[in-house]
Symmetry: C2
Subunit: 455 residues, 2 copies
């Protein structure tokens, strides 16, 4: 919409990064955007197109790590935000915008009886875990090996578990992510193998009276972006009912899957849900939602507040306004259309894989999919885990997609579509993927010749 | 600047709150804005004036909990943000804006050799603690009794310690803030009495080889908004040098005190500093800054990343643009002018206290001050601690100031000035305070007649 500012082209990404390294650790504030020899710097974006500082335009299938459901600079969101901007961005008062947005989410997802807004997915999961502890009076949580739930250290345990340290699958090791993490963190986190009902229940049973909540990402991105099996979720739900624990869904990424979130796919409902990403309309956001009797631990009207909680920028009217509008525009029809378009992409990409003669499977749900260079789609973390050689090939593929094909994807090999994407971009993605598959085929062939075939 | 939208006046704060309670826990996403019988809802704001939904205009001395250094909707910030808005709010790429802003902060505060941006003060302190652990390989932190450092549970221990639970001052109890906090959290937090050098050093010595960092807020707001004594900071610095630990300053609130933060007041420099609030220019923000050799734990270029860290909205170009502009406008001259104006306010308010015949002292530094209804300014947490009866009087005072005098203050009895404030508003504040002091004088008199005089 805005013409490119020519002064922005004075320096290349390489030059900017050189300066960045002198003032920002590693030159980036987010490791996700780091790459060698330097990250790319964005100049401007509109809809599903992002132009970098070097003047190259890309089709965006990453959407700021899945957070922009309508792509960039949606005119209606821009216009509503400008209006709010002129009225102020934050006050030491509440605003009507948080009530309107909470009402929308409450009406949209049956389990969202009460909501609280925070500033990031990390804060959302941290608040969720603290709420579960406050309600149950129990200290432990249980989470899946390999699952990502933000940067709260309890939620980070075993996020990056690997064959060298993950240990016996019957009781996976509790691996800290950050050096120096107190043992008291690991002592309070049970790690279970996602989608493995028998082992998960056996592990939960060991700590049955100490577990505040069992948290799962129902389409676990870092594990492999596959869905939690129906029977698995049913079993977790039943276990939590029997043992006085809560079932929590982390839907920060997955709320986009259906109109009412991924939880719409299951008969049982989570007690608490963390949300984020798309609900911010492009601005920093997180949220905690769930059963009103549990959320009561946060209520300042109570005699004793079990979980006192505040936040300078929580529920600020810029995020609330942008978020409400984004979710209004992402109505039932928009969800259905976007998911159908994603199905076309899935179909075409699998075809391209066959045409290129490479092993390929796709996982995901709704408007998200992740590619795996193997015949059968994985369904467990240890099965989906990519050895170094496979990661190297994926990296090569993603670099080729970005640099040669001008397609932005998430660094796990994932596409998170926005409503700004049309059939034209999906066809272009397919063509680019075909080129990419052919590009890495020799490497894949060499790898599979060397190694026993995986799953 | 924008004419008030008449449709916004359709509902009263009371009516909005009624709806809010059905969808948001306690009806608020931030306990700071909660009050009985209902919070106030903001309609719009400009400079130092905030108009609520009921049409009442207030002078703002709270500035969204000290985060708006130029007040509301500063035209230059609005205009720069609008320009960025049209180019997009966030990408899966870096932007030049984070480099420009990091450079500014780096050049401004000598100890900020390297910087990382996050989304809130809570995230900043969490990142700081994790960085200190990652660098030292040690699990414990030491913090002051009563100090507030956000909602990361390690940072929350003993934040709300009170006479019923705080225990022996020679080794203060470690009091969890949230019900169900794991014992493993308390086990890794040493609590010391702020500004009490002898006791603090004795406590630190007990855990000398396990402490990753000693963190203090150099003008500790919740403790009483008084400064850390020079000799105290010197002693903490020397202790950390002797024992292989880091000295960390939480300057989320206090960066405003001087051009280079409160740390400009001390000869010794912190190894790490958490920042936030005013550096966001009105948008969600946090930051971690410090010695480059320590910050290296975050560097994605390292063979082994000791502290892997990312964040969907970290360093987003809206916050970076607004923040850089806010800090550019808060130049040496602006800091000096604002601090001088605040000194006038301090002087006049103390005069008003004398005129009203109440016991009154002020603490604070730079553009911040907090009122205490006692003759001598407190300098320790347990000394500054307000019993229930005193809190009730303060609440009465603040309600009177807000509702009758249309002056917004922070709920601890604190004013955090913005550059939008002029002598006119300071005079109005003084007049309102005088009215307020007279209003609560009978209550204060009754309290002091009943109780032995404090300090």
């Amino acid at each position: 919409m805005l013409p490119a500012d020519p002064t922005k082209y004075k320096r290349s990404s390489e030059e900017i990064y050189k300066q960045a390294c002198d003032v920002i650790t590693g030159g980036v504030s987010r490791n996700t955007v780091f790459r060698r020899p330097h990250p790319f710097y964005a100049s401007h974006a509109s809809g599903c197109y992002v132009t970098d500082i070097d003047g190259v335009e890309h089709i965006d299938f990453a959407n700021n790590m899945a957070s922009l459901i309508h792509g960039h600079a949606h005119p209606a969101i821009v216009s509503a935000v400008v209006e709010q901007l002129m009225r102020g961005t934050a006050y030491t008062m509440a605003t009507e915008s948080e009530v309107a947005f909470a009402q929308l989410l409450h009406d949209r997802v049956p389990s969202f009886e009460r909501i609280r807004f925070v500033n990031s997915g990390t804060e959302a999961v941290m608040a969720l875990i603290k709420a579960a502890r406050a309600f149950t009076g129990r200290p432990m949580i249980a989470k899946a090996e390999g699952s990502y739930h933000g940067t709260y250290d309890f939620a980070e345990v075993s996020q990056a578990a690997n064959p060298d340290n993950w240990g016996d699958i019957d009781e996976p090791n509790r691996i800290p992510l950050v050096n120096g993490t107190p043992q008291g963190v690991m002592d309070n986190v049970v790690i279970f193998p996602y989608n493995d009902t028998e082992r998960t229940l056996a592990l939960l049973d060991k700590y049955a009276d100490q577990i505040a909540c069992v948290i799962i990402d129902p389409v676990a991105h870092r594990i492999g972006l596959f869905e939690a099996d129906q029977s698995y979720v049913d079993a977790l739900y039943a276990w939590t009912r029997r043992n006085g624990a809560l079932l929590a869904f982390d839907e920060v990424v997955t709320l986009r899957v259906n109109y009412g979130g991924t939880q719409e796919n299951y008969q049982v409902k989570p007690d608490l849900t963390s949300i984020g990403k798309i609900i911010g309309g492009g601005f920093p956001v997180g949220g905690l939602a769930g059963r009103s009797d549990i959320m009561k631990v946060l209520d300042p009207r109570e005699q004793r507040i079990l979980f006192p909680h505040s936040g300078t920028f929580s529920a600020n009217p810029i995020t609330m306004t942008a978020g409400r509008l984004a979710m209004e525009l992402f109505d039932r029809e928009a969800v259905t259309t976007l998911n159908a378009l994603t199905d076309i992409a899935r179909y075409q990409i699998l075809e391209a894989g066959r045409e290129a003669g490479i092993p390929l499977s796709l996982t995901g749900a709704g408007s998200m999919f992740r590619i795996h260079f193997r015949e059968a789609a994985p369904n467990r973390y240890r099965e989906a885990y990519q050895p170094k050689e496979e990661v190297a090939i994926l990296k090569e593929f993603l670099d080729f997609m970005h640099v040669q094909q001008h397609i932005m994807m998430i660094n796990t090999g994932t596409c998170m579509l926005s409503t700004a994407i049309t059939r034209t971009e999906v066809d272009r993605l397919t063509e680019a993927m075909l080129n990419g598959f052919r590009y890495i085929k020799p490497g894949l062939d060499a790898l599979h010749a060397k190694e026993p075939k995986t799953a």
